[in-house]
């Protein structure tokens, strides 16, 4: 018989057990992702779902951020008579930080929660068990496909958000400073470096992976009937947002270390 006394305290024990569980889940992902069956069809379907679900909100948010951020930055630059630097300033802010962060947070809310809810309800209605007893690996079919889809799609969405935000910014700049589209984008591309784009893509891949794996983990391990489904959806959003901020901070440290090395 197992010893049922807690090692530290019940809460801490559960915390560490949860942590170990989560690591085992991530480890299983990296063990199984390399081997067939690859389920390309399901991955594509998930990619489509992710894009389809988040595109309207991301377009709107990106556009508005572009306009508002430009508008709010103008007075400070105007003090130094440097409003011509607006495109450079905005493009750096958008590409380095705002684009990836905003996209990831929106996707965590829209995509992460729906992955959590979907897998959670599959778990509590025994659909995951049903796959297992018909000799289908549910981890492969559900977790790996969804996680790969978010990992690939978030960078694509980030590029899109960057573009939309810059267009928003351009409209504002165009009205106030009478800069043409080509001049605007020449300035944009002069101010962002290869490192900016490269690090933004890597960061987005990590964000995407986080959103997918957290949603899947929470859903796959949900319990307690229908109540558990709501909890899975909710906690996957909270958890992935939290992790995204931590990752953003880490990324900042790493990129700065490279940039000023």
């Amino acid at each position: 018989m197992k010893d049922k006394r807690p090692v530290l305290s019940k809460k801490l024990d559960n915390f560490f057990r949860g942590l170990a569980d989560a690591f085992a889940f991530v480890k299983r992902f990296f063990q199984e992702v390399w081997f067939p069956p690859y389920e390309f069809k399901e991955i594509l379907r998930q990619c489509y779902e992710i894009g389809y679900r988040s595109l309207p909100l991301i377009s709107l948010t990106g556009f508005i951020i572009g306009i508002v951020f430009t508008n709010q930055s103008r007075p400070s630059l105007a003090e130094f008579g440097a409003t011509s630097w607006l495109p450079a300033l905005i493009s750096i802010a958008v590409v380095r930080a705002l684009g990836p962060l905003v996209t990831a947070l929106i996707a965590a809310g829209k995509v992460g929660s729906s992955i959590g809810a979907e897998l959670g309800s599959m778990k509590v209605t025994e659909q995951i068990d049903a796959m297992e007893v018909s000799a289908i690996n549910p981890f492969k079919y559900l977790v790996i496909t969804r996680t790969l889809a978010t990992t690939f799609m978030i960078p694509v969405l980030v590029m899109y958000t960057d573009f939309v935000a810059l267009m928003g910014s351009f409209i504002n700049v165009n009205q106030n400073e009478l800069v043409s589209l080509s001049t605007f984008f020449v300035q944009v591309f002069e101010s962002i470096s290869f490192l900016d784009i490269f690090s933004s893509v890597i960061k987005s891949l990590v964000f995407g992976f986080t959103i997918g794996i957290v949603g899947c983990y929470k859903g796959y391990n949900s319990t307690k009937g229908t109540e558990g489904v709501g909890q899975a959806a909710n906690s996957s959003v909270v958890m992935s947002m939290f992790l995204i901020f931590i990752e953003e901070l880490l990324a900042l440290q790493i990129v700065n270390a490279i940039r000023y090395a």
Binding site: P37, M122, E126, Q127, E132, V133, S134, A135, I136
Partner: protein
């Protein structure tokens, strides 16, 4: 001696402090329908989930179709699972897929190189045999409880199992639909030559579908035998009350 397809010896399972199975012994003979009865929460679902290793036993010996479960690796276990059809208590249809896709899913993933025609033929034939040919393009959310149960059975039959587990096939259904489901269980045995475990607390279902009854009380099988042996001559008060409750006179 009759040939056993499943042998269970001295099976134990507990969840924390909750000792669910406490030394279960049971045989399923080839070609029979064995009915497992027991109160809600007595561990009937846990028992068959252990048999397909959705849950791991704490202790005990299980042999299915000549294979000792504890000696199988995952691949061998999956081979064995394909010979077992598991009809879930709540049907467990994949609700993002149509009825057709639900039936195809286990087939296309386990049998390689089937042509579109063969798949369609199998799916349509099975839907016919469970009496629901018109539901083929519907989503599970559009089906009634009884229809879901039957599609669930059809989905497990698509791989031609040798053993069937039905987890409360008639629970929550009206008496007429229950008769349909009971007939379906008997029809499956005739057509597919399966050996089955039928879990239920519905004594009509038990009587109509079962060759033998086994009553799970406090984690063990207290009575095993024909319906008459187990119920009409019952002396154990647990079993007696079960019977009296079902047939209030």
């Amino acid at each position: 001696m009759r040939e056993s397809v499943i042998e269970i010896r001295n099976l134990y399972k507990s969840f924390g402090d909750n000792d669910v199975l406490r030394g279960v012994d049971l045989d399923l003979y080839k070609g029979e329908n064995l009915v497992v009865l027991g109160k809600s929460g007595s561990g009937k679902s846990v028992l068959i989930k252990i048999l397909v290793q959705l849950l791991k036993q704490d202790e005990g010996y299980i042999k299915i179709l000549g294979k000792d479960l504890s000696k199988l690796n995952l691949r061998e276990l999956n081979q064995l699972r394909l010979k077992i059809g598991f009809a879930f208590q709540a049907s467990a249809l994949y609700d993002s897929m149509t009825v057709r896709e639900n039936l195809e899913f286990p087939l296309t993933r386990n049998v390689k190189n089937l042509s579109r025609k063969e798949i369609d033929y199998k799916v349509e034939r099975l839907l016919d045999s469970v009496g629901l040919p018109n539901t083929i393009n519907q989503m599970p959310s559009e089906l009634s409880g009884g229809q879901k149960k039957r599609i669930g059975v059809a989905r497990t039959l698509i791989l031609n199992p040798e053993i069937m587990f039905y987890d409360e096939p008639t629970a929550g259904l009206d008496p007429i639909t229950c008769i349909d489901i009971n007939n379906l269980i008997n029809q499956v045995r005739e057509e597919y030559k399966t050996s089955s475990i039928v879990i239920t607390h519905d004594l009509t279902c038990a009587k109509v579908t079962g060759d033998r009854m086994a009553v799970l009380v406090k984690g063990q099988f207290k009575a095993v035998g024909s319906f008459e042996d187990v119920f009409e001559n019952a002396s154990d008060p647990n079993i007696k009350s079960f019977y009296d409750y079902n047939f209030i006179k």
